[in-house]
């Protein structure tokens, strides 16, 4: 008769949520926040530029420019970030025979990923501006580039600021994946805490709270920024 052996799950005498563990490891966790923020900011700033370039390529009338941009966006959006991180860190060095640096690889993977999403955000903004404006600008004798630069983009960029804020928050959270290639960010320290203290709930809960504080703070900051940019005209 299966199950005759008594399996006990009681954890008598163990504390439900051990604040001492949290207190002991909190400074250790906090030291990972810097790396997390570094990854988020650097890749976000590069993605702001790279995303715009890809978006411009994506809306271009030239097939040779448009198609590669389309393929790039489809590939990045259609594959998991985790797979992309492994691909950049373990895959590329195997083919091109160079010595990988984890920090750079993590940045590359996050930037490439975010750029694709950012490109789609820009495209949404550009396409939300009525076609008539481009036509009007062209009929005034402006080149496509000038019309884009002086008429379409200034309006589009104001519209894409809220979704960009979302992308920033997403990036902040997804940067936790770089811990799989050994980056000592907040998530990695959380795993180390869970393993060393044998208190996974305390470790991951505290980490989740730290992420929440970060995203909450940045959401408010971005909201403030949005308001400022809106009144600008």
């Amino acid at each position: 008769m299966a199950g005759a052996i008594n399996r006990k799950l009681t954890r008598e005498g163990t504390i439900l949520f051990d604040l001492n563990v949290v207190a002991r490891y909190f400074p250790f966790l906090i030291r990972g926040v810097g790396i997390t923020i570094q990854f988020t900011f650097i890749s976000f700033l590069i993605a702001i530029v790279l995303g715009l370039l890809i978006a411009l390529g994506r809306v271009s009338n030239n097939k040779i420019i448009r198609v590669p941009c389309q393929i790039y966006i489809d590939f990045i959006r259609g594959t998991p970030l985790l797979a992309q991180i492994y691909l950049v860190h373990f895959g590329l060095p195997q083919i091109f025979h160079y010595k990988p640096v984890g920090y750079i690889d993590a940045l590359i993977a996050l930037t490439l990923n975010s750029s694709a999403y950012m490109a789609e955000i820009y495209r949404g903004g550009i396409e939300s501006i009525e076609k008539g404006q481009m036509e009007a600008a062209r009929s005034l004798g402006m080149t496509y580039g000038h019309a884009m630069r002086y008429v379409i983009l200034p309006q589009a960029i104001r519209r894409v600021i809220p979704p960009m804020g979302n992308e920033f928050i997403t990036l902040l959270k997804e940067s936790s994946l770089v811990s799989v290639i050994g980056m000592e960010d907040l998530m990695m320290r959380s795993k180390m805490m869970a393993g060393q203290s044998f208190r996974p709930f305390e470790a991951y809960f505290t980490t989740a709270l730290i992420y929440l504080v970060l995203t909450f703070t940045f959401t408010r900051l971005l909201g403030y920024l949005e308001g400022r940019l809106k009144t600008g005209g």
Binding site: A4, I5, R11, Q94, G102, G182, G195
Partner: protein
């Protein structure tokens, strides 16, 4: 044409979904295919992190979980007349899975340490192991002390990780540059990291390094020195499950006495 392609894609995805759902689940193995003499006294779940060849790994040909630890726990189960099912799980989740009741036994090349013994009950030691380090053949690192200031890959929260932390502390005490430790999730990841050149060396359990070298003869990786720690693997169980402790320890003693243990040992490591 485009439409047809889209429909074809949809059909393909649907087929794959169903095909995956229809594959036959392998029957849980009981006692090496033989009929158990009497009703098993319990049905237990054992877990391990299966990138740790030769102790537990996925057989590349059959896709099944296999290895020294897997054979060992099935043999112990047979000797003590209980049923066991072996499952793959993240290294970091093993002890939590034991404590939440998702599993009853951790058989995962887990070294008996004082810290872990505060959380779980270990069986009698079943394997003597130790930490060793390996490098690329042309590496300037010739001895353990040469690792000062270099980067090593280890699996997170393993005794390799702890050994690396001890080394780091030792180097710093001697006023030498410390050890940069790169922690990765899976046992197999550390070797990939060394192969692509992301780290200067790897610290891992010696039998696992040797197995990697055996499976990758063209890897140009060498083990310059013998193991620098001595450790014993144990099967981890919940502290309060006294009945299970007895089943496992008695089973282990039985298979050691009957020669079954030596048989499994030879299968994975050759003659002793």
């Amino acid at each position: 044409m485009k439409k047809r392609f889209a429909i074809l894609c949809c059909v393909l995805v649907l087929c794959l979904t169903f095909a995956a759902g229809c594959t036959k689940e392998p029957e849980p193995v009981t006692t090496n295919g033989e009929e158990a003499p009497t009703e098993p006294v319990a049905k237990l779940v054992a877990i391990g992190e299966c990138t740790f060849a030769p102790f537990e790994y996925v057989d590349p040909d059959t896709g099944e979980l296999t290895g020294f630890d897997v054979d060992l726990i099935y043999a112990i189960a047979e000797a003590s007349n209980f049923e066991v099912e072996y499952k793959n799980m993240d290294w970091n989740s093993l002890i939590a899975a034991l404590q939440t009741g998702e599993a009853d036994l951790i058989v995962s090349g887990m070294t008996i340490t004082d810290e872990r013994a505060m959380e779980v009950k270990f069986s009698d030691p079943y394997f003597e192991s130790g930490q060793a380090w390996c490098v690329q053949e042309d590496s300037p690192i010739k001895t353990l002390d040469d690792l000062a200031g270099k980067t090593v890959a280890v699996q997170i929260n393993t005794t390799a990780d702890y050994a690396a932390q001890d080394l780091d502390a030792k180097f710093k005490e001697e006023d030498k540059p410390g050890l940069n430790i790169k922690r990765l999730e899976q046992a197999a990841d550390v070797f990939n990291e060394l192969k692509v050149g992301g780290v200067d060396a790897v610290i891992s359990d010696l039998p696992v390094i040797q197995e990697y070298l055996k499976n990758n003869p063209d890897s140009d990786i060498i083990v310059p020195e013998p193991a620098f720690t001595v450790e014993y693997y144990g099967i981890a169980m919940r502290k309060q499950d006294k009945d299970i402790h007895e089943l496992v320890n008695k089973g282990l003693a039985k298979i050691k006495a009957s020669g079954k243990y030596d048989e499994i040992y030879e299968k994975y490591f050759g003659t002793r």
